[in-house]
């Protein structure tokens, strides 16, 4: 049998229906299902690395990519994932069309719903937008990032990358560093990592770490040296440069000096610690190229690869639920 055929068998074995009708937040998952989804993800990685990447698990299904915010990597990751599963994919950069004409989110949703898609992948700048849409449409909704609320597939792909690098996520100490306050990636990762038994620390300047973040079950640090001590994983977040305008941060050079990850700071973490970043990176602001490009410590390229596999697992699992609901 070819590698692709082995992978396809593995996928068929491991396929499990999604526990909810939508995937809006990390809380829609549960630990046994996450493990199953990661197993499935591993199989998709094998498939993606073979020469025949196409499957027909979503044949006849329409996946609508609805991106109200600009995004290249997430929308193409979802598009590739859906296409490899055999779906008909339409990617709509909504930012450029009807929204500008004044149509409300719900009107757009109702209109698109009438075209009978099966899965709606949504990114929107407002927290809660994906949940609102899910109440108004008849198809499955996948949250691809809503405001500063959640980005659950990102957390899932991070988990897949970590499990492949460390074997097990339980017991790992993961430091999420930077602009926690405005980060949906941080919120989803805190929820999912904690669910899977990792210890999560949050590190950043006090203006960028919510004051009540310690109640999320995380330890909060404002000093990188203290926060990184004993960490297995350093997950850097992107610093939005417009944060300088609102007096949240004085300058990028000061940010890099105190919270940017370079060799010196990475040495404060446990030996062999891995570095992650959801991308796109501001080199020289939150991360030094020296660290980001060192494949012996950086999982950043892996994260992109795992993104497609994890999203294939989510879409396939949601499609299976749609199948069984029929």
């Amino acid at each position: 049998m070819t590698n692709a055929a082995v992978a396809a068998d593995l996928i068929a074995d491991r396929l499990v229906p999604f526990p909810k009708s939508h995937f809006l937040a990390a809380a829609d998952l549960n630990p046994p299902f996450v493990s199953a989804l990661l197993d499935l993800g591993d199989a998709f990685v094998e498939l993606n690395r073979s020469s025949t990447k196409a499957l027909d698990l979503l044949r006849g299904r329409t996946v609508l990519n609805l991106f109200f915010e600009n995004s290249t990597r997430t929308s193409s990751s979802f598009e590739i994932a859906a296409k490899r599963l055999g779906a008909d994919v339409v990617t709509m950069p909504v930012g450029a069309s009807s929204v500008k004409k004044g149509e409300t989110l719900i009107d757009t949703a109702v209109t698109l719903n009438a075209m009978r898609p099966d899965i709606l992948v949504v990114r929107h700048g407002a927290s809660g937008a994906a949940a609102l849409l899910s109440q108004k449409v008849g198809c499955a909704v996948v949250n691809a990032g809503d405001g500063r609320h959640e980005h659950p597939t990102q957390a899932l792909l991070d988990l897949l990358s970590l499990r492949r690098a460390f074997g097990d996520v339980g017991g790992l100490t993961v430091a999420i560093c930077g602009d926690i306050a405005h980060s949906r990636v941080a919120r989803s990762n805190v929820a999912l990592l904690s669910m899977m038994g990792a210890r999560v620390r949050l590190i950043g300047p006090p203006t960028l770490v919510p004051g009540d973040a310690d109640r999320w079950g995380c330890e909060v640090f404002h000093d990188m040296r203290e926060g990184l001590a004993g960490c297995d994983v350093v997950m850097m977040l992107r610093l939005q440069l417009e944060r300088m305008d609102g007096a949240l941060m004085p300058s990028t050079r000061e940010y890099f000096r105190f919270w940017g990850l370079d060799r010196e700071k990475l040495a404060w973490a446990r030996a062999g610690a891995k570095v992650m970043h959801p991308g796109p990176m501001n080199r020289g602001v939150e991360i030094d190229s020296d660290v980001a490009d060192d494949l012996s410590v950086s999982l950043i390229q892996d994260q992109v690869e795992m993104g497609v596999a994890a999203r294939m697992a989510v879409l396939a699992s949601l499609a299976m639920r749609l199948e069984s609901a029929r």
């Binding site: 300047p205 203006t207 004085p250 105190f258």
Partner: protein, 424 residues
């Protein structure tokens, strides 16, 4: 090289010691403090002849004109004035041109000051860029470069969101933030405190509550963020009450008062003498009394000279158009001693907010007579009469409200890191 100062009356607020003694200095550091009359030796011996020996004064609010307005005051003229006044550490305000709002400027001030070889010149950094009140300055980098605290000086950060973020951010470095409590809209254009006198004089005035209102806001933000905070130049009884209430709730906030507001009241502006045009404006006598009692009760961490040089051309104008502020480095000690001579406040309690108080607020080693502390010392005669002559002041600007006043207290010698920088 060792230096022994013997036969002195030691006044050390940090250890509450007021009595005879001697101090030995080696390599710029105090190595021995002897209480009582036991003899000590040094390669150089100074017989104090019974004069008072106290840690050099620390003045945390000094404006100069360097860079940007050198005709007003340079770091050199300010340092000379400080040395003559027994002030061994000055903290220069960031309101220069350009403002001290980045680490290179902090470095510039401190290096220029050190090169003079006179007193310790330290810098306060701006809290916002250009002291503009909208974008945060590089507090972390300036802190690393040696800035002792952060303030926009006489500019009030009106935007509460900006101030709350500055405060919150500063906690990452355990940095001290200082704010002038003055409601910017009530205070706009005011040169006097609202009341009968200001009305009669026809001067634009601000009500005293302008201070209280802003202080209430500042303290609410301090409570929320947990920042280390200094109330810069408190001047009214109402604000003192607000401060006392906050401290009663367990809030740790420090307060400074300017020497001018302890020595003068609004009646002094009666002849439109612009040397009494100050910011905050002079207050009614009841406020001055309340400030004196606060010093007596130990509620004030720092007394400052609020040194603000303004040349004659900026002062010889109609009252409301004159530049605010007064020079004060050289007169700080005798002016503060009026609190002892006239108000009966214990000498140690007068000296504490001039030495140990600001030192512990800013985390300085100086400000105490103890082994290991830098040998920053001042020898003075507390009772010697002086008549202040503004023209004889070392400051480039001569705008002293004490001009012509009879005070008591003369600095005989000022020592910085074991080196005499001023002697009669």
């Amino acid at each position: 090289m060792s230096l022994a100062v013997v036969n002195a009356r030691l006044l050390d607020p940090a250890s509450d010691y007021d009595g005879p003694g001697a101090v030995l200095v080696e390599d710029g550091v105090i190595t021995l403090v002897e209480h009582g009359g036991a003899p000590i030796r040094g390669e150089q011996v100074i017989d104090a002849g019974g004069l008072c020996l106290t840690p050099g004064l620390i003045d945390i609010r000094v404006r100069t004109g360097e860079p940007g307005a050198e005709p007003k005051e340079t770091l050199k003229s300010a340092s000379l004035a400080a040395a003559a006044g027994g002030v061994t550490t000055i903290v220069v305000q960031p309101d220069t041109d350009p403002a001290v709002d980045d680490p290179a400027m902090v470095d510039f001030i401190q290096r220029r000051g050190a090169a003079l070889g006179l007193v310790n010149v330290r810098a306060a950094g701006a809290a916002t860029k250009g002291r503009g009140g909208s974008r945060m300055a590089e507090i972390g980098l300036m802190h690393e470069a040696g800035a002792l605290y952060f303030t926009d000086g006489d500019h009030v950060i009106a935007d509460s969101r900006v101030l709350s973020r500055v405060m919150s951010y500063a906690t990452a470095f355990n940095a001290l933030i200082a704010c002038r409590p003055a409601d910017p809209w009530l205070s706009e254009g005011a040169v006097a405190t609202s009341g009968e006198l200001a009305t009669r004089l026809g001067l634009p005035s601000a009500p005293a509550i302008a201070e209280r209102i802003q202080l209430e806001r500042d303290l609410a933000l301090v409570e929320q963020t947990g920042v280390r905070f200094l109330v810069d130049q408190i001047s009214t009884e109402g604000a003192l009450e607000v401060l006392a209430r906050a401290r009663g709730r367990g809030l740790e906030v420090a307060a400074s008062v300017s020497i001018n507001h302890l020595c003068f009241n609004e009646v002094d502006i009666g002849d439109y003498r612009t040397f009494y045009r100050l910011d905050p404006p002079l207050r009614p006598e009841s406020d001055r009394r309340a400030l004196i009692e606060a010093v007596r009760d130990g509620l004030i961490e720092a007394i400052t000279s609020a040194h603000a040089p303004a040349p004659a051309e900026d002062k010889r104008r109609p009252f409301a158009e004159a530049a605010p502020g007064a020079v004060g480095l050289e007169t700080l000690l005798p002016a503060a001693l009026t609190l002892h001579h006239e108000e009966g406040i214990d000498l140690l309690d007068v000296l504490r907010p001039l030495t140990e108080g600001p030192a512990s607020l800013l985390g300085l080693e100086a400000g105490r007579l103890a082994p290991g502390a830098p040998a920053d010392l001042v020898l003075f005669d507390p009772g010697a009469p002086v008549i202040v002559d503004a023209d004889a002041l070392r400051s480039k600007s001569k705008n002293s409200p004490f001009d012509g006043r009879r005070l008591q207290g003369r600095v005989a010698r000022t020592v910085v890191a074991g080196r005499t920088v001023h002697a009669l």
